[in-house]
């Protein structure tokens, strides 16, 4: 199928190829800057929109103890992650033995491996398909910065160019212990999250100008 488009395609004029190329170029162009830690910007929105009472503690406990992971293993770090899941290291101690083939049922993405630009739109799509609240652990040197492939022509220099990352686990690849430590860090982070606004910071309508 030939497509007529104002952009001139040099290598192929098949619709599928052009579409793919366009998507990758768009993602690449929009990914120059790293996305900051979600703690810096996500909380604000949530605080304004969700009003709950002291179920905070229960919520955090439930969230941190049932981290189901989406599948994202583009390269060798995936092996260590599989080892983490296996009985010897036993990730099910943290309530995360279930791997979700569907991102709709996942809350955590462990990005175990090198990401190429060609794969980037798909990883971002998987991330967007995960329901809130969701977290990302960047595993390994490649996940953090592109690792040894950083200056390569086809490697994304760090997942935080594509999706917001909560915890970074260094190593090439990180040992399962390191990954488990990273997961525990994330659990601590989730534990601190407050869905409930701090009452003392809200204006009290009964006492004008004063806080409770």
């Amino acid at each position: 199928m030939e497509v007529s488009n104002d952009k001139e395609y040099i290598y192929s004029s098949t619709e599928l190829d052009c579409d793919e190329g366009r998507i990758i170029e768009e993602v690449k162009a929009g990914s120059r800057e790293s996305i900051p830690d979600p703690d810096a910007w996500l909380d604000e929105d949530l605080r304004r929109n969700i009003i709950l009472t002291s179920v905070d503690w229960v919520l955090d406990w439930a969230r941190r103890s049932s981290l189901w992971t989406a599948i994202c293993y583009p390269a060798c770090c995936g092996m260590e992650w599989m080892a983490t899941l296996s009985p010897r290291f036993d990730a099910s101690r943290f309530g995360m033995e279930i791997m979700r083939a569907s991102p709709r049922q996942a809350d955590l993405m462990i990005t175990a491996g090198t990401l190429t630009w060609k794969m980037a739109p798909n990883v971002r799509r998987i991330y967007h398909q995960m329901p809130e609240p969701k977290w990302v652990i960047a595993m390994g040197a490649c996940g953090i910065s592109g690792g040894i492939f950083r200056s390569s022509y086809n490697v994304v220099p760090g997942y935080n160019k594509i999706i917001p990352v909560d915890v970074y686990v260094p190593g090439c690849p990180p040992r399962p212990e390191a990954l488990i430590y990273g997961i525990q860090m994330l659990q601590k982070k989730i534990n601190k999250a407050k869905a409930v606004p701090d009452l003392s910071e809200l204006p009290n309508p009964l006492k004008k100008g004063k806080k409770v």
């Binding site: 290598y11 192929s12 190829d17 793919e20 190329g21 990758i24 060609k118 200056s151 022509y153 086809n154």
Partner: protein
């Protein structure tokens, strides 16, 4: 075990049938003129003493002054292998005839070389990028390619 057929043997048989196509011969590789490549490959595949019926790989090297495309083929019948090379001396639009009519397996490898090295394979029915995406600028495995 598969052993490399000495280049001498290949040349002694080839030079009778294709006079003047051999440019250079190493210990076990033969450099031929690029326009006679399909005929030579066809002969190596079918001729009784050779029967190189299996194409192991195609690869390409950028030597700055020229590109070299390297073919290794094996005969599963006689258990011997040979390496065939061709050169193209231009950087603008280097062209080599495609071997897809002789070895079906050449399809993806020629596309890969086209994608990463920018060598055009004349006669390839679907020569387009295979690894990189449409819109990628240039051919990154060339020595003079810069991000």
């Amino acid at each position: 075990m598969i052993v490399a057929l000495p280049a001498k043997e290949i040349i002694s048989q080839l030079s009778d049938k294709f006079p003047g196509v051999i440019e250079e011969a190493g210990q076990d590789s033969v450099l031929v003129k690029s326009d006679s490549l399909p005929a030579v490959a066809e002969h190596l595949k079918t001729a009784a003493g050779f029967k190189f019926d299996y194409l192991n790989y195609i690869t390409a090297v950028d030597y700055y002054q020229y590109f070299e495309v390297v073919y290794q083929m094996t005969s599963l019948e006689h258990n011997h292998s040979a390496i065939l090379k061709v050169r193209c001396h231009t950087r603008d639009n280097p062209t080599v005839p495609s071997l897809i009519g002789i070895y079906q397996g050449a399809d993806f490898q020629e596309r890969e070389i086209y994608d990463l090295m920018g060598i055009t394979f004349e006669g390839h029915p679907n020569l387009k990028r295979i690894f990189l995406w449409e819109g990628f600028d240039g051919h990154p495995l060339r020595k003079d390619w810069n991000q």
